[in-house]
Amino acid sequence: MAYSSDSILLPDKQRCVWSKDRNFKVLVQRPEKIAPDIFPIATLFRYVEGKKEIVWSLDLPIHVGPRYILVADDGVVLFVDEWIRKRQTDYALMIIDQLGKVKSTTLGAVFDMAGAARDEALKSSRFGGWISTEPKFITANEVLLGIGGKDLLIDLHGDISSD
């Protein structure tokens, strides 16, 4: 009797991303097992005159981990999307400053702010469920991201605000 498996590919157990000037490195460690009370750990390292120090280390509030990891030259970290494809997430974007303070926004809010319809984002997605162009730095503190035919410019020093 034939059977079918519902499985997904996981990211590497350890993912390291450096800032452009290589003064900061962020490490995301995926847990071996996906379970409700087990979370990935993210750690930001700073390199000063060849010495490494931990800036912060925290359990991420998402399982498995983020899809994209970026770190700016000033140590601000941006996580984009969850690795697990979800129709809704509270952590479509996460910005973590040098103090380890986390700001996040929902996927719905991202669609709203981008002016991108969800259906269009799904149709044009090439990376995960809703990203059409991979995120990349275009200035020291700004990341460009494609979603649903729109280009989003994410200011890593932007505040969460109530408009």
């Binding site: 009797m1 034939a2 059977y3 079918s4 498996s5 519902d6 499985s7 997904i8 590919l9 996981l10 990211p11 590497d12 157990k13 097992k33 996906i34 379970a35 409700p36 087990i38 399982h63 498995v64 697990i84 494809r85 979800k86 129709r87 974007l93 910005i95 700001k103 926004t105 929902t106 719905g108 809010a109 991202v110 669609f111 709203d112 702010m113 981008a114 002016g115 991108a116 319809a117 969800r118 259906d119 799904l122 997605s125 469920g129 729109k150 280009d151 989003l152 410019l153 994410i154 200011d155 932007g158 505040d159 969460i160 605000s161 109530s162 408009d163």
Partner: protein, 417 residues
């Protein structure tokens, strides 16, 4: 609205776009059902059970699109630590591991976790066009992939990852890496396959016919007949809600109506009054129910009853005519946990499957058929049910060899004592 400062192109965007409406196909008449037998794995001591994310609501929403009610039987537990983490469906679908004795009841095991290939996670596994699925409870619970149970059941119903139109990110049967969970869509081809599956059954049809011109002094104003349905299913509760027509039962000569007639029954075929308990049909009430003993009111049976019914807007006139009662609601509860609700429309005949009416599933499963507990062989033979895979006590050549070797070893040790 909480937001990052996000720019699009060269301009700051502060726009609000409503979420695209989801494409649920609500209002599809439910005329089929399937039974699901959840089996929770616990350790040898009956503790530390798998979390068992049944995902009942999501599963029901998905299959309602196909007109199929998903009826979850009470979860049973199997105490076997060795099954808390397994490789897949063939590890749990072994004789005596909780399978239903009903060949058309889908068995779904919930284990702590499933062993996966390196750098992958296996959320679930299921036979294609066969009976049996296993769910990785930890992974499903952690990630909120509440469509996993529906996905695996879809395989049992004959659906694959790359046929019947699967492939879109919103489609329930799309392969895990390309699916946005929880997905909720089914294609028409998938719906056709689901409805043709041997695991989906025609739902029972009980008809209500409003007879005559007035309910006053009648014993057959409501004629109830169990027309079609699978063998062994019975109606256990029937309800009437007169509120939508602003009507009430006028069963005595006291206010609100001063000229009424009480409950009278007639026409019992295959069922008797002794099998029923009438509730709530008191003077002035707007709703009533009949509790019927399980197994008593089945296909081919019928009965009728009547009582005066008045409109609050026309008390003590001729009584409410059938056409004045258009809009009243009838509820049908069957012993398998299937509940259907319908509304009387202008043809004055309705029923549990009336396609022109509101039909909704709000099942609270009772039970259906004997359950097979751990270690207990189902009645009959070693072959549990025809068509159910891997339910055989015949060992594979490898295990047969080990078995024979074990016996030889046992005897050789005995001989040394």
């Amino acid at each position: 609205m909480a937001s990052f400062k996000i720019f699009t192109g060269r301009k700051l965007i502060f726009c609000s776009v409503l979420w695209a409406a989801t494409n649920y196909v609500y209002g599809v008449p439910i005329d089929q059902f399937m039974l699901i037998n959840p089996i929770q794995i616990c350790d040898d001591n009956g503790a530390n059970c798998a979390s068992s994310p049944l995902s009942i609501q999501k599963t029901q929403e998905i299959y309602e699109q196909a007109g199929v009610a998903s009826i979850f039987l009470p979860t049973q537990s199997i105490n076997d630590s060795s099954l808390l983490t397994v490789n897949g469906i063939t590890d749990v679908n072994l004789l005596g591991n909780g399978q239903s004795s009903n060949a058309n009841t889908l068995n779904v095991w919930f284990v702590d976790s499933l062993n996966s290939a390196p750098n992958t996670t296996l959320f679930g596994q299921a036979y294609i066009n066969g009976n049996g699925a296993v769910i990785n409870s930890d992974a499903v619970t952690a990630t909120g992939r509440s469509d996993t149970v529906a996905h695996e059941i879809g395989h049992n119903l004959g659906l694959g990852h790359s046929n019947f139109g699967a492939g879109d990110a919103d489609n329930v049967l799309t392969t895990g890496s390309n699916r946005d969970a929880p997905a909720d869509q089914l294609t028409q081809a998938q719906i056709d396959q689901i409805r043709a599956s041997r695991f989906t059954n025609d739902a029972p049809e009980v008809t209500v016919d409003l007879r005559g011109s007035t309910p006053f002094n009648t014993d057959d104003f409501f004629d109830i007949s169990f027309d079609t349905g699978p063998a062994g299913i019975s109606l256990t509760k029937f309800t009437i809600d007169l509120a939508p027509a602003n009507a009430f039962f006028d069963t005595t000569n006291d206010a609100p109506g001063n000229s009424g007639s009480g409950l009278r029954t007639s026409g019992f075929t295959g069922v008797s009054l002794a099998d029923m308990v009438f509730n709530g049909m008191t003077n002035g009430s707007q709703s009533m129910s009949i509790d019927i003993a399980p197994g008593k009111f089945t296909v081919g049976d019928s009965f009728a009853f009547g009582s005066d019914i008045d409109l609050f807007s026309a008390i003590d006139r001729y009584g409410a005519t059938p056409s004045e009662l258009v809009g009243i609601k009838f509820g049908f509860e069957f012993d398998i946990g299937l509940s259907l609700e319908t509304v009387l429309d202008s043809d004055l005949v309705t029923g549990s499957l009336d396609p022109s009416q509101l039909n909704s599933f709000f099942g609270s499963p009772i039970s259906f058929g004997p359950q097979v507990s751990a270690g207990q062989l189902p009645p009959g033979s070693t072959n549990l049910v025809a068509g159910t895979p891997v339910l055989t006590s015949v060992p594979t050549p490898g295990t047969l060899t080990l078995f024979v070797f074990g016996i030889m070893l046992a005897f050789s040790r005995k001989s040394k004592v």
